[in-house]
Symmetry: C2
Subunit: 474 residues, 2 copies
Amino acid sequence: MPQRVSRLVRRIVIVGAGCGGGTAAQFARKTDRAAEITMVERENYPQYSRCGLPYGISGIIPELTNLIEAPEERLKRNRIGVMLGTEVTSVDPGSKVVHARKADGVEVEIPYDCLVLATGAMAWVPNIKGAFKDGGKELKQGVFVLRTIEDARGIQSLASKGKRAVVVGAGLVGLEVAEALMVRGCKVTIIEYLSNCILAMVDDDMAQMMADAIRGHDVKMFNEYEVTEILGDDRANCVVAVDRKTKEERTFYADLIVIATGQRGETRLAKQVGCDVGNTKQIVVDDRCETCVKDVFSVGDCTEYPDLITGTPTVSGLGTIAVKMAMVAGINAAGGDERLPKGFLQTRATEPFGCQVAAVGPTSAQLEQHGIKPIIGKVRGFTLPDYFPGRKEIYVKVLAHPDDGKILGAQIVGEDRVHMRVNAYAVALQAGMTVHDFAQLETAYCPPAAPTMDVITIACEAVRLKLARGAAKN
Amino acid sequence: MPQRVSRLVRRIVIVGAGCGGGTAAQFARKTDRAAEITMVERENYPQYSRCGLPYGISGIIPELTNLIEAPEERLKRNRIGVMLGTEVTSVDPGSKVVHARKADGVEVEIPYDCLVLATGAMAWVPNIKGAFKDGGKELKQGVFVLRTIEDARGIQSLASKGKRAVVVGAGLVGLEVAEALMVRGCKVTIIEYLSNCILAMVDDDMAQMMADAIRGHDVKMFNEYEVTEILGDDRANCVVAVDRKTKEERTFYADLIVIATGQRGETRLAKQVGCDVGNTKQIVVDDRCETCVKDVFSVGDCTEYPDLITGTPTVSGLGTIAVKMAMVAGINAAGGDERLPKGFLQTRATEPFGCQVAAVGPTSAQLEQHGIKPIIGKVRGFTLPDYFPGRKEIYVKVLAHPDDGKILGAQIVGEDRVHMRVNAYAVALQAGMTVHDFAQLETAYCPPAAPTMDVITIACEAVRLKLARGAAKN
C-alpha cells in the first residue's frame, strides 16, 4: 500500500534556498528526522550569505563562492534535497502540489504536506529613464543591483583601479558596496535622495559621523539628489541627477553604476496561493510563521511582522530576523510548536569606511511617527579608560519613553567595539527594561577592554537626569 | 554667629581617595554644590587606577603616574579638598570628628556631618616563613604585593630582561602581573594553591583555556603547590613550595617575588566607629551605602553586599562595584536619596596572555554551594561568520536554573570580542531573564562584526534543549 507509506512520511517543500529557506530546512530536519525535505531554488547556488557579497566584491573574501553556507554535500548528508536553477511557477494549495520548471525546461510537480515560502526579495529600482535595456526588464550593461552572486560577479568584472563608479543610494547596502568599490581602486561617487546616509538605521546626528567617515576616505557623497536618467546606448556611461532643492541637473560619468535603493519582497507566489499581504505589501504571518493559508508558512524578506516597540508590522530585510523566522517555520512545518516573540527588535549593524554603526529599536523619527517623543541620552565617551593607549571615541544615544524611562531604542557609532555594545541594549529592549535599571548595570571592566563606567550606562544616566529634571519641573 | 554659618554648609569627610573615595567626592559635589568636601588619604597620590598597575609595570602605560584619574587641579576646580599622606587615626562618631596625622606628624581634627569610609583593602599575605623582614610587618627586599603605585614602582625596579620572577597566586591580579613581568623580559613562574588559575572567576573547564594560554607563552605555572618559605637573608632569592598531593618540596630561585593571594578589607576604623561587620569580616551597608552608624557610609573593597543571584553578602573587590557604591554614598552623604540594586552581578573581565575572559554571576561551584545545580549550555563558536577572514574561536557557557531556565551566570573565553559579549548576559541577569527569552535575542550582525546567530544566543538554545529533554523525561 504505497499511498499509506507516503502519507506517513511528512513532505516539506521550501521555495527558496537563501538563508531563510536553508535555515528552515535545517530546523525541519532537526525536528523530524524522517521527513522528506525539498528546497526549490531559482538561482544556481544553494544557501549563501548575501550580506557577505560586498566583501566578496572587495576581495576581503577571496572567492564569491566562499560565501556558500550550505554546500550540497552537507545538504545531502542531512538528506535535504535542493533543486537549483528551478523556478516555481505556481502552487495548488487544494491538492497541495508545487509546479516548477527546471533550467532545462522540464516541468515538475512536487507534492507537499507543509510549504514554506522563503522567496525573499528582489532589488527595487526606482523609475530612472534609461536604466533598463530597451525599456525592458533587464538592466543596461554597466548597471547593476546587488542581490545575487551573479550581480556581484558582474560588478567585480568592471570594478578595477581608476574606474569611475556611481552608487545610487546611501543605505547599508549602498555604503558597503561603495566601500568595496573603493577598496578595488575605483573613484566612487554616492548619490542619495535623502539629506544624509543610513537614515533608516540611525538618527541624522549619528548618521553624520558616517557621512564624515565617507568623505574622509575620498569618496564623494551627494545628498538630496534624485537620479533621473542613465545615459549611454549599449552600455551606461553617465548618471544624471537633479538637486532636489535647486532643481539643477548634474552629470556623473560612470564606468559602473550600482543601484542600491532598497528591495521589495517576492510575493507573487504567496498571493497566488491566497496568502494575505499587509500594509507593507509583504506576506502576513502569525507567531508560528504560518500564513492565513493552512500549512503554508513564510519567512524572511518577503514577510512583515510587528516591531516590538511600536507594534506596527514592519519589513526588516535583516538576515538575523530571516533566520529566527526560519527556525520557527522549519520546526512548525515539521510538526513542532515554536513561537516567535510578539515583535522584533530590528538589531542592525554595519561598518564601512572604518565607521562602525549599530542600532536597535526604532529611530527618533520612527518613534515620533508613532506619537512618542523620546527622551534622549547622548554621550561621547571612549572605548577604553583615559590612561590606556589605543582608546577610540564612541558615541552612544539612548531613546527612552518620557513617561517611565523604558528604553525604546539605542544607536552607537565609533571606530571600535561598537557592535557588541548594542547587544546589551537589545537585551534591555527584549526585557522591557528602563533606563533606571540599566543605569545600575555592572559592565565588564578591565583596562585593556573597557572603562570602569561604560558609555552604555552613562547614556542611561543622562536620560535619568533629564527625567528627574522634568519631574522637578512638574 | 560663625557657628550657624558652619552648620549651613554640609561637611563631608571621605577617608580614602581611591576610586571609591574619589567617585564619592565627585558625586557628592554634583549633588550639593556648596558642601565642604574633604578626602583624607594615606598614600601620596590622589585617585588612581589600581587595575591599571600591571600595565604600568609592563610599560604599556608609559608612566605609573599616568594612572592618576583625579589630578589635584581637577579636584581644586571642583572644590574637593584632599589631604595626601595623611592617616586617619580615629573617629569620634559622637562629636562627629575625624582625627588624623599628617605626614609631618602634625595632628589634625576634621569635623563632619557625613562620613564616607572608603578605606579599601590591603593585600593579604598568607603565612609564609621568611616573607617579612625580621618577622616584622615589612616585606623582605625582593618580595612585593601589588596594591599601590609604590608597590608597582618597586616591582618595576627589579623586573628586567632575564630576571627570574615568581608570582604566588594565579587569580586575576596574579596573572596580570605575571604577564607584565613576561613583557619586561622576566622568566616567570606562577605558583598556585588550587588546581587551576582564576577559579574565583570561572569554572574549571573555562579556566583551562587560560591555563593553556599561559603555558603557550613560555610561562610556567605550578598548580596545587603551597608556598611555605621564602629564603634569603637581606634579600629574598628563593621560594620554597610543597606539592599538596605528594608533599614533595620544590625550590624556585627568584630575583623577584610577587605575592598576589588576595586582599582583606581595611576595617579598623569602621570597627572603632561602631560599624557592623558581617560574616565576610567586611563592613555591612544598606542599599543607601550607610552603615549601622548614622551618617557614616562605606563603599568599595572594605564592604560586603549581597550577590544578586545567591542573595549572600559577598566581597567583590571589583572597581565597577566600588564606583557604583561610591556614586550612591556620595549622593546620599550630600543629602540625596539614591539606592543600590538589591544585589550585585559581579561582572568581571581580564585578558592576560592574549586570552580574554569575562564572566557574570556565580560560578557553577558557587551555585552548588547554594544548593542549585545549574543546567549548563556550553558552546564553541566563532567571533565572525565562517567565511570571514580573521575569525577566532570563542567559548560561551551559560548557567541556568533547572526549574525555570532563569539565567544565573555566564562565562566567555576567547582571543577576541569576549568582553562586550558578557555585557548582554549582565543585562539578562539584571532583568531576571530566562534562556527562553534570551534565545529569541536579535544580536548585531554584519559579516565583519559577528555571525548571524551569535554564540551568546546559541548557548541559551543549548540550555533550552536540555530543559526540554528533561521535561520530556518526566
